[in-house]
Symmetry: C2
Subunit: 395 residues, 2 copies
DNA sequence: GTAGTCTGTTAAGACTCTTACCGATACGGA
DNA sequence: TCCGTATCGGTAAGAGTCTTAACAGACTAC
């Protein structure tokens, strides 16, 4: 409740902030146009530009000539006023990408790693490398966003536990913060994929959507009212544990199946292992679950029973989600989801229509390359923007 | 994006608004205290009080003496500056309650009705009656909030379809608005119960919670990030359709079971009919599902198998919800939920713990009397407050 | 070459807030 | 009993933000 009272300074901060946001969203702008967009007068817009320029947040990037009068100067956000890095680690590789505050990726790197590596060291090395490639000093780094399988405590921002990566555990957040000296955000990988989908993929401008990740593991990202919902303990979307018909109820959540893999009901139905098995049973030979789906799509109608059965299983999960949160859009992502493409989505959509009285659009992911890394970078850019805007308001 | 620029007038509006909110939240206040709470100086607080008083939004309600200097005047929101009415219709009775903008109910009425009555007329009559009892003219009425079983389109605010009430259909919102000449809000009854629970019940200050309504029908209200989530088509929480193990998958959502009742999987498992049947099978004789639960609780350990089975069934639904949205709190409400009380909640909580890796608190509803009506009144008060605050900002 | 239009600046005024000061009031301790 | 002190409410002067109005300069159009 300790909100500042409405002093005139607050007004200035609000307008500076508004102008900065418009510059971020609508590219280079003249003073006049900035005045129109913010609703402020010409004079105030000029003062505001001077302030932002003196702080190094914006710069002149050219002039717009061709009009009647003198050439107007074009202002844009200075990308170098804040850098962020996104990191994604999957199985045996760790990737990183760097961006300025304006958005576009300016450097990318990828190197091998193993689950036994110390995560702090692995992240440090890859961040250092990508910054070198970008020609940016570590002191200019504002935020690092790291994707992880598993659950992140929304209170502390720390890893609660992580599938596959035994060395990623509680305390990692603080260790990385200490090591890199910048703000650290650890986020669930499926959530990051959903952020990418909303920013540059199939879910642009959708306020209520879910992203159903079907790959080695399965997961769900829930976006409601335009906001990513992490749940009270960060476990929102852990739908591997969803109790569904067609799979035996777990005797206990801590028990493991015969593969030694943690898994609840839906996990046993549409996890990668189950999909491979299903493909095999239908006589489809391919490498891995996603490969099986691709092979089935290529095979045409002979593979229909396999795809139908897979769609039925997925639809049960989707239907449960629809019954609870009623999204406008369901994005199928992950290896298997992406491989299934529009064909599988159509089958799932039809099956869902028979189970629940709502009909969300079901579409394949439109972010085909490194969605998690992409989401991490986007999140980093957003975080560094927020920090800049807060600094505007504070001073 | 057409947001107003940061003019000094906006500042005044913000501060007026802040002061009004503080007066609503913290009861009668002196000018000095108001200045402290808003963070404004004594002078500004005085000017602000004068403005609000001239508009009839606040009034002097006494003086606070006993201190050192002269007695300070106490200001409070004038309840009469805006009235709202909440309406709830269940089966054969329609209820209404009226409130001023400060909150407390000032009049209540209840009259018989039937599903065949014209809803516009039924609502009109009960609203008129409760206003008469309150001594308020219809011209002073700002908002009417009506609870309904069934689905409300979040885009239009209109009824999409309603269980049990065939005459409640699309167009009702506009018809009521025309008839009563004030703002109309139609809201799902379970959502209203959740609003009441958050305001005066067991879910105060909880940001992520769900209310599981177990009664004649079953339903769910989802509150995430402090906001009620209605879903893209208003069908969030229609968990009667949730596919669960232990109940047969629906062949088609439009088919009906042998009772002729629309129902998905979870509905068939824990709907009132199923609970009564289960009780009968365990040799518990009582009138209705809630009665059976009360009888079982009174009977003690001989009835344990019945309660355990019921808890198991409920837990499957709760577990599915937890897997998707991970609430901090699950409130069991509705006839059956309320009857089950802490004993049933404990059993459900234990069963949920075996199904999913999160452990939300499971508690019985703390709003025992007319939760839906209560929620409707609270919603009406909030809406009329919003309207007043908007009017402050506009002028 | 001149008129017209647009950019960016300066000057004066309106509105909001703040600090500083003052008279009036009522309690508490000497 | 009386005076010191804290508090309430109000007035006056000042600082910060915005606005409109007017102006000097640059560039295009005819």
């Amino acid at each position: 409740m300790t909100r500042r009272p409405g002093t005139p300074e607050l007004l200035r901060a609000m307008n500076d902030r508004s102008a900065f946001e418009h510059l971020l969203a609508a590219g280079p702008l003249t003073r006049g146009r900035l005045g129109e967009l913010t609703g402020l007068s010409k004079v105030t817009a000029s003062q505001l530009v001077v302030r932002l320029q003196q702080r190094g947040l914006i710069e002149v990037v050219g002039t717009r000539s061709g009009g009647r009068g003198p050439s107007a100067e074009l202002y844009a956000v200075r990308p170098g006023c804040s850098y962020s890095v996104g990191v994604d680690m999957v199985l045996d590789r760790i990737q990183a990408a760097a961006s300025g505050v304006t958005g576009p990726v300016i450097a990318h790197t990828s190197r091998p790693t193993t689950e036994k590596d110390d995560p702090v060291r692995a992240v440090h090395e890859v961040v250092e490398e990508v910054l070198t490639r970008a020609g940016v000093g570590i002191s200019e780094l504002s935020h690092v966003v790291i994707g992880t399988t598993g659950v992140v405590d929304p209170g502390t921002g720390d890893v609660t536990f992580s599938f596959d990566l035994p060395k990623w555990h509680r305390g990692l957040h603080d260790a990385l913060h200490e090591d890199l000296g910048c703000d650290i955000t650890i986020e669930n990988d499926v959530n990051l994929a959903a952020i990418a989908e909303r920013e540059v993929g199939a879910a642009r401008d959708v306020q209520d959507m879910v992203l159903f990740w079907v790959g080695r593991g399965i997961g769900l990202a829930v976006v409601l009212g335009g906001r990513l919902q992490r749940g009270a303990s960060g476990a929102a979307g852990e739908i591997g544990y969803l109790p569904v018909p067609g799979a035996p109820l777990l005797a206990d959540v801590s028990s493991r199946d015969d593969r030694g893999q943690l898994g609840g009901s839906l996990q046993q139905l549409v996890g990668a292992g189950a999909v491979s098995e299903l493909a095999e049973r239908h006589g489809i030979a391919a490498d891995g679950a996603a490969g099986a789906v691709r092979a089935a799509l290529a095979a045409g109608s002979p593979a229909d029973p396999f795809l139908n059965e897979l769609a039925q299983r997925l639809a049960v999960g989707v239907a449960a989600v629809c019954a609870v949160v009623d999204p406008a859009l369901v994005v199928l992502a992950g290896d298997v989801g992406a491989a299934g493409d529009e064909r599988l989505c159509k089958l799932v959509s039809e099956a869902v229509g028979h189970l629940v009285p709502v009909s969300p659009k079901v579409v394949p992911t439109a972010v085909r390359e490194d969605p998690v890394l992409r989401g991490a970078v986007i999140t980093g850019v957003h975080k560094s923007r927020d920090a800049l805007l807060a600094s505007i308001a504070a001073s």
